[in-house]
C-alpha cells in the first residue's frame, strides 16, 4: 500500500533519524525450491502488435543471466465475443510471443489467455475495463519545502470516472527508458483516483498520484518524459499492489515476505505444477512532455 509506504518513509525520517538504524547487504543461503513458468502478459488494446513473455524463474540470487525464455509453448488469446488471436514465438528472442496484429476490444469484453506448455494447460481471464484518460501532463518549478528539493517536476492530471472500481497503472519513460530508479512500479497505480478503491471516487487524481512521475530530484532541461496511463482490471491491480509491497519492503514496519499471487490457473486442478505471473488487458492513454 503506497500510503503505508509514504507513512513508513515519514516514520523512517522522524524516528530512526534519532536512532541509528542501519541497512547493509549480507549473504544468506536460500532453499533449493523449483523453477516455475512465469508469465508476463500485459496486453493493450488498439496499440499495435502485442507481446507476451514466458520465462522460467531463476534462483533468487542468480544474477549472472536474465531469466531463460520458454520456447515451444502454444498461446492463444480469445474473448467471450468469439475473437481469437494466436501469439507466435519470435525466433530471434526465445520466450517472446507476438500477436499478428492489433488487438481490438470493447468495455466489458472478457479475454482469456491460454498457454500450453509441457503437457500442462494454463489460463487466465481479464475483462477489458473502461478507460481513464490523461487530461494534461506538464512541468512546474517548485521551491524547496517539507523535505522536497527545488527543481522542475512533472504533474499528471486525470479524472476518475464516477463509480467505484476504476484501476490504473501509470508507467513512464525518461528519455525513452523506463525509469526504475525508485522501485515503484513505474509511478503509481491509482484506484478511483487515490490509493484504495472507493476512497476518492470521481475526483481528480489526488496529489501524491499527480506527483508520482517524479523522483527526489527534479528533471533536467532537455529530458523527455513519456507517460502511459493504463486502465487495468481489479486482479492486475491487486497483483501490482502485492508486488509493490514486496519490492519496497524494509524497515520496522515491513510486511511479512509473501508470494505475490498471480492470476493463472492450471486447467487440471489436481496438477501440482503452477504458473506464476500475471495476464491482464489494458487500455492506454499517452502523453509526452519535454522539460524546458
Amino acid at each position: 500500500m503506497q500510503l503505508i509506504n509514504n507513512f513508513r518513509l515519514l516514520v523512517g525520517i522522524l524516528v530512526l533519524g534519532f536512532f541509528t538504524s542501519c541497512e547493509d547487504p549480507i549473504s544468506v543461503e536460500l532453499d533449493e525450491g523449483k523453477s516455475q513458468l512465469a508469465v508476463d502478459a500485459l496486453i493493450k488494446v488498439n496499440d499495435g502488435i502485442q507481446q507476451v513473455r514466458l520465462t522460467l524463474t531463476n534462483k533468487y540470487f542468480d544474477n549472472s543471466k536474465p531469466a531463460q525464455g520458454v520456447s515451444g509453448a502454444v498461446l492463444v488469446l480469445t474473448s467471450n465475443l468469439g475473437k481469437s488471436y494466436p501469439f507466435i514465438e519470435n525466433p530471434a528472442t526465445p520466450g517472446n510471443y507476438l500477436s499478428a496484429d492489433t488487438i481490438k476490444g470493447q468495455t466489458g469484453e472478457v479475454f482469456s489467455l491460454s498457454i500450453e506448455y509441457q503437457g500442462q494447460e494454463y489460463f487466465a481471464l481479464s475483462p477489458l475495463v473502461r478507460g481513464t484518460v490523461i487530461d494534461t501532463l506538464f512541468i512546474e518549478d517548485r521551491i524547496a519545502e517539507f523535505g522536497n528539493t527545488a527543481g522542475k517536476f512533472a504533474q499528471l492530471i486525470a479524472r476518475d470516472s464516477v463509480g467505484v472500481g476504476d484501476f490504473c497503472w501509470i508507467k513512464y519513460r525518461l528519455n525513452g527508458k523506463p525509469d526504475l530508479r525508485y522501485n515503484r512500479l513505474g509511478a503509481a497505480f491509482p484506484a478511483d483516483a487515490a490509493f484504495a478503491p472507493g476512497s476518492a471516487d470521481g475526483l481528480e487524481f489526488i496529489f501524491p498520484i499527480r506527483n508520482s512521475i517524479n523522483g527526489d530530484e527534479g528533471y533536467l532541461i532537455g529530458d523527455v518524459i513519456d507517460v502511459d496511463l493504463l486502465s487495468i482490471d481489479a486482479e492486475q491491480w491487486r497483483f501490482l499492489k502485492e508486488m509493490e509491497i514486496q519490492l519496497n519492503n524494509s524497515g520496522l514496519f515491513a510486511d511479512p515476505i509473501a508470494n505475490v499471487r498471480g492470476n493463472l490457473f492450471n486447467k487440471n486442478p489436481n496438477s501440482k505444477v503452477q504458473a506464476v505471473g500475471c495476464f491482464g488487458m489494458a487500455r492506454v492513454s499517452r502523453a509526452q512532455v519535454t522539460v524546458q
Partner: protein
C-alpha cells in the same frame, strides 16, 4: 438489550445466593482480624504484605488495596506483619471478638541488612506458599536499577527480561508472553485497559515510572476475576500519593524529563499524586538553521494523576487518570498523533470484617489521527477504540481455610475503524467505516481453599458473553479457498441495538499447590481464556495505525487453554537467599487470526473476507533464579519454547513458526553495590533469531524482479541470534542530613559491544548506481541482494540526573 437485562438480573441473583450461603456459615467460636497495611513513610497501601500468626503457623497476605482479613479461633496471638524492605512489626493481639488492626510498616534503610531478611522472607516465601504460579512481580525499585535505553526507565522493557516474555525485536511495540501475540495481553492501569502500551512507535512504554507502584504479570493460572485476553494479564497499579508529607521526584535525561509531586490533601485521609513526563528534543528545532525543521514537532508526553480519600475505616475512594500522546509533524503540512486516555473511579468498601468490595468504573480511549495538508489537497485519517465499564468485585474471607472472590463486569466498546477525508484539487470526499458497538459482560466465582497444611487449591469459573451490536452490516461469506479473498455472498443490514453476532464462553480456572517442604512446593494450573477483540496487524512490528476489531459472525472469539506445572524452591540461610522456580507450560489456542497474503487491513469495508482463522500451540520450559539481597543481587532467566500456527491457506496447511517464535531466551540481570555511593548494573540478553520467509526464486515481470518462494512456505528461515549487553553506573552523592534534596546520577551504555542485531532481512533489486548521470541515470540493475536491517546497530550512551525533595 433484553439479554443484558437478564444477564444483570441473573448476576444480582447470583450475588445474593452467594451471600446467603455465606451468612449461614456460623462462626461463633471464631473472630476475625482485619485491616489495612500501609507504608509508614508515605501511607501507600502495601500490596501482598504478609500477616503471620506464630501460634498457628498460619498466614495471609494483603490484597491490591492493602486490605487483609484472617478468621481465627478466639484467643491470644502474636501476629507479625511483614513486607519486603520494611521493618517487621510484631503485635500481641487478644482476639476475643472481631478486630480491626491497621498497620504501618517503616521502611528499612538499606544498610541494616539484618532486619531486612525477615521482610524479604515474607516476599520470598510467597514464591513457594502462594497458589499463584506463572507470576512475575517487579517493584519499581528493581525496574529503576535495570540499565535503561537513553535513560528512560521502562516497565515493559524490564518485563522482557523475565522468563516466558519476549519481543520480536528492538523498537517493536508490546511484548509476547508464552507464545502469544501482543494483543493477547490484557494491560490494566488501575483497572482500566490500555490499548497501545508504546511511545515512539515501540521504543518506550507509556507508563511513567514515578507514578507506578506495583507491576504484576500473570502468564498462567490466571484467576477467574480476569478475562478478555488469552495470554497474560499485566496489572499495573499507580501510587496513591504520599499522605504524610509532600514529596517531589524527578529526573532529567537526554531524551525526556520527568517530574512528580505528591502529598496529603488531608493528612492520613486524602492524598494525591501528579506525575508528568515529556521528551524535549523538538524544543531545539527552532534553533535550527533548517527552515523545515524549525516548524517541525516530534515529542511524546504523559500525565498521570490520582487522588484518594479515606471516608472512614470502611470506605475509601480513588480517582485516577492517565493521558499520554505522541505527536509528530512538519509545520501544517503533515501531522501524526496517537495516544491513550484512561480514567478510573474506584470505591473500596468493607462489609463487617470479612467481606471486602471494590467497585470500579472506568473509561478508556485509544485514538490516532494522520493529517496531510497542502493548499488544495489533503488527507485526514482517524480511528479509535473506546470503553466504558463497571466492575464490582467482592472478596469474602469465609474462614481460615476459604477465601471466595466473586463479581462481574459490564464492558461497552465503541470502535471507529477508520474515517478518511480526501481533498483533491479542492474537492472533498469523506469515507467513514461505520462505528462498531459491542458489549462484553462477565460474571465469576472463585474459591481459594486451604485443604490441608500442605495442599491448597484455587478453583473458579468465569462466564463471559459478547454481543456485537448494530447499526452495522453483516457480511455473509463463502468458504475459504487458499490464497483468495473469500467471496461475499450477501450483505445484510443490522439495525441499531440489534445483535450482529453473539458468543458465550465458560472459562474454568484451576490452580493447586502442594508444599513438599517448608522451602519448596509444586504447583499446577489450568486456565481457559476467551478473547473477543483482536488487533489486526500484518506488519513485522505493530504500528500505531493498527486497528482493533470485535468478533463478528465471521471472526470467532479466540480461545486459549493452558496447563502448567511448576517447581518452586527457596534456598534460605543466613547469608544466602535464592529463589528458584521452573515451570513447564502447554498452550492451545483456537481461532487465531492470520491474513491472506497481501491483505488490506486498513479502511477495508470487506475486512472479514481477508482474514484467515487457524489454530495455535505453544509450549516451553522456564527457569528463574533470583538473588534478592546482598551487595550482588539480580536474576537469571531462561526460557526454551516453541510457538506455531496451523492455518488453512498458509504454508500448505502445515504448522509454521509464528513471527515471534524464539527457541532460546536468556536474560542475566545483576546489580552490584560497589561502595556506599556507587552501584553498577548490567543486563545481558540472548535470544534465538526469529523466523522470516525467504524466497527461492525470482519472477521477472515488466522489468521488475519479484521474490518467490516456490514451495509456498511461511517463516522458513531463522534470522541470526539477538544478543546485547547493557551497563549502567549510579552515583549517589553523600546526603547532607540537613538537606531534604537528594540527587543521583545514572550513566548508561546500551548495546555495549555495538552489535547489529538484525530486526529483519529483506530482499531487493540492487539500486541503480548513484553516480550515474544523464540519460543513464534511470537504469536499474537486475542484480538482487539480501539486506539486513538493524534498528540500533551501535552503542547508545545516556546520562540521567534523578532527584527527590
Amino acid at each position: 438489550m433484553f439479554k443484558s437485562y437478564y444477564l444483570r438480573r441473573s448476576f444480582i441473583g447470583f450475588v445474593l445466593l452467594v451471600l446467603t450461603l455465606l451468612s449461614t456459615h456460623a462462626q461463633n467460636t471464631k473472630a476475625t482480624l482485619s485491616g489495612y497495611i500501609k507504608g509508614a513513610a508515605d501511607g501507600e497501601s502495601l500490596i501482598g504484605a504478609g500477616i503471620y500468626v506464630e501460634e498457628l503457623q498460619k498466614g495471609a497476605s494483603s490484597n491490591e488495596y492493602g486490605f487483609y482479613s484472617l478468621s481465627l479461633p478466639k484467643g491470644k496471638y502474636v501476629v507479625r506483619f511483614l513486607y519486603l524492605g520494611h521493618v517487621t512489626q510484631t503485635q500481641t493481639i487478644d482476639l476475643n471478638r472481631d478486630q480491626t488492626v491497621n498497620v504501618e510498616l517503616a521502611e528499612e534503610s538499606i544498610r541494616t541488612e539484618e532486619v531486612v531478611i525477615t521482610g524479604e522472607k515474607a516476599e520470598v516465601e510467597a514464591n513457594v506458599k502462594s497458589n499463584q504460579m506463572g507470576i512475575n512481580k517487579l517493584d519499581i525499585k528493581t525496574i529503576n536499577k535495570i540499565p535503561p535505553l537513553l535513560g528512560e526507565v521502562d516497565v515493559i522493557r524490564s518485563l522482557q527480561l523475565l522468563p516466558g516474555v519476549s519481543t520480536v525485536g528492538e523498537g517493536a511495540s508490546g511484548f509476547n508472553v508464552r507464545g502469544g501475540s501482543i494483543d493477547q495481553n490484557l494491560i490494566l492501569l488501575d483497572e482500566a485497559p490500555v490499548y497501545n502500551s508504546s511511545h515512539l512507535f515501540g521504543f518506550f512504554s507509556v507508563f511513567n515510572p514515578d507514578a507506578v507502584k506495583d507491576v504484576k504479570l500473570l502468564k498462567g493460572g490466571i484467576p477467574a476475576q480476569y478475562g478478555g485476553r488469552i495470554s497474560s494479564l499485566l496489572d499495573i497499579r499507580m501510587k496513591d500519593g504520599n499522605n504524610k508529607k509532600f514529596e517531589l521526584n524527578g529526573g532529567i535525561g537526554l531524551l525526556s524529563s520527568r517530574f512528580s509531586v505528591e502529598g496529603p490533601i488531608i493528612k492520613d485521609k486524602a492524598s494525591f499524586i501528579l506525575a508528568g513526563r515529556r521528551t524535549y528534543f523538538d524544543l531545539f528545532f527552532p534553533l535550527s538553521n533548517n527552515e523545515q525543521l524549525k516548524t517541525s514537532v516530534a515529542y511524546f508526553y504523559d500525565l498521570t494523576a490520582k487522588v484518594n480519600y479515606k471516608i472512614d475505616d470502611r470506605n475509601k475512594v480513588f480517582v485516577s487518570g492517565y493521558f499520554g500522546r505522541d505527536k509528530f509533524g512538519f509545520g501544517s503540512a503533515f501531522g501524526f498523533e496517537w495516544g491513550n486516555a484512561t480514567t478510573s473511579l474506584r470505591w473500596n468498601h468493607v462489609f463487617g470484617s470479612r467481606l471486602f468490595s471494590n467497585v470500579t468504573a472506568f473509561y478508556s480511549n485509544y485514538d490516532y489521527a494522520l493529517n496531510i495538508q497542502t493548499n488544495d489537497d489533503g488527507f485526514n485519517w482517524q480511528s479509535k477504540i473506546q470503553n466504558l465499564s463497571v466492575k464490582p468485585e467482592f472478596t469474602y474471607y469465609v474462614d481460615d481455610k476459604n477465601t471466595i472472590t466473586f463479581g462481574g463486569q459490564i464492558l461497552h466498546y465503541d470502535f471507529l475503524p477508520g474515517k478518511t477525508t480526501i481533498l483533491s484539487a479542492g474537492e472533498t470526499i469523506v469515507n467513514r467505516l461505520s462505528d462498531k458497538y459491542a458489549f462484553e459482560n462477565s460474571i465469576y466465582l472463585s474459591n481459594e481453599q486451604q485443604v490441608s497444611s500442605k495442599l491448597s487449591l484455587t478453583y473458579g469459573l468465569r462466564y463471559s458473553n459478547f454481543m456485537n451490536q448494530g447499526a452495522s452490516t453483516r457480511l455473509i461469506l463463502g468458504d475459504t479457498v487458499p490464497g483468495i479473498k473469500r467471496p461475499i455472498r450477501d450483505v445484510q443490514t443490522v439495525a441499531s441495538g440489534k445483535t450482529l453476532a453473539q458468543y458465550g464462553n465458560f472459562e474454568p480456572r484451576f490452580a493447586a499447590k502442594y508444599e513438599l517442604t517448608k522451602n519448596s512446593s509444586v504447583k499446577a494450573s489450568y486456565n481457559r481464556m476467551a478473547q473477543y477483540i483482536h488487533l489486526l496487524s500484518n506488519t513485522q512490528a505493530s504500528v500505531p495505525l493498527d486497528v482493533w476489531t470485535p468478533s463478528s459472525n465471521n471472526i470467532k472469539p479466540q480461545l486459549g487453554d493452558q496447563v502448567s506445572l511448576g517447581y518452586f524452591k527457596n534456598f534460605v540461610a543466613k547469608e544466602i537467599d535464592y529463589e528458584f522456580s521452573t515451570e513447564v507450560f502447554y498452550k492451545k489456542m483456537q481461532n487465531q487470526i492470520d491474513f491472506i497474503d497481501g491483505a488490506d487491513l486498513l479502511l477495508n469495508k470487506e475486512l472479514d473476507a481477508e482474514l484467515l482463522s487457524g489454530d495455535g500451540r505453544a509450549y516451553g520450559i522456564e527457569f528463574f533464579v533470583q538473588k534478592r539481597k546482598g551487595k550482588l543481587n539480580g536474576w537469571v532467566s531462561y526460557t526454551l519454547s516453541q510457538t506455531e500456527r496451523l492455518v488453512s491457506g498458509i504454508n500448505n496447511r502445515t504448522w509454521y513458526p509464528t513471527r515471534f517464535d524464539k527457541r532460546h531466551n536468556l536474560a542475566v540481570v545483576t546489580n552490584y553495590q560497589l561502595a556506599k555511593q556507587w552501584s553498577v548494573s548490567s543486563s545481558f540478553v540472548f535470544g534465538s533469531g526469529v523466523p522470516g520467509t525467504f524466497p527461492t526464486h525470482r519472477i521477472e515481470y515488466q522489468g521488475f524482479i519479484i521474490p518467490q518462494n516456490s514451495d509456498n512456505l511461511r517463516n522458513n528461515y531463522r534470522l541470526p541470534a539477538y544478543h546485547r549487553l547493557d551497563l549502567s553506573v549510579t552515583y549517589e552523592p553523600k546526603n547532607n542530613e540537613n538537606r531534604k534534596w537528594k540527587g543521583s546520577w545514572t550513566f548508561g551504555l546500551y548495546n555495549v559491544y555495538a552489535r547489529r542485531n538484525p530486526f529483519g532481512i529483506y530482499f531487493r533489486q540492487e539500486p541503480p548506481n548513484a553516480d550515474a548521470s544523464g540519460p543513464d541515470r534511470v537504469t536499474q540493475s537486475t542484480n538482487t541482494q539480501a539486506i539486513r536491517f538493524a534498528v540500533l546497530g551501535t552503542v547508545v550512551p545516556s546520562v540521567t540526573y534523578n532527584f527527590s525533595f
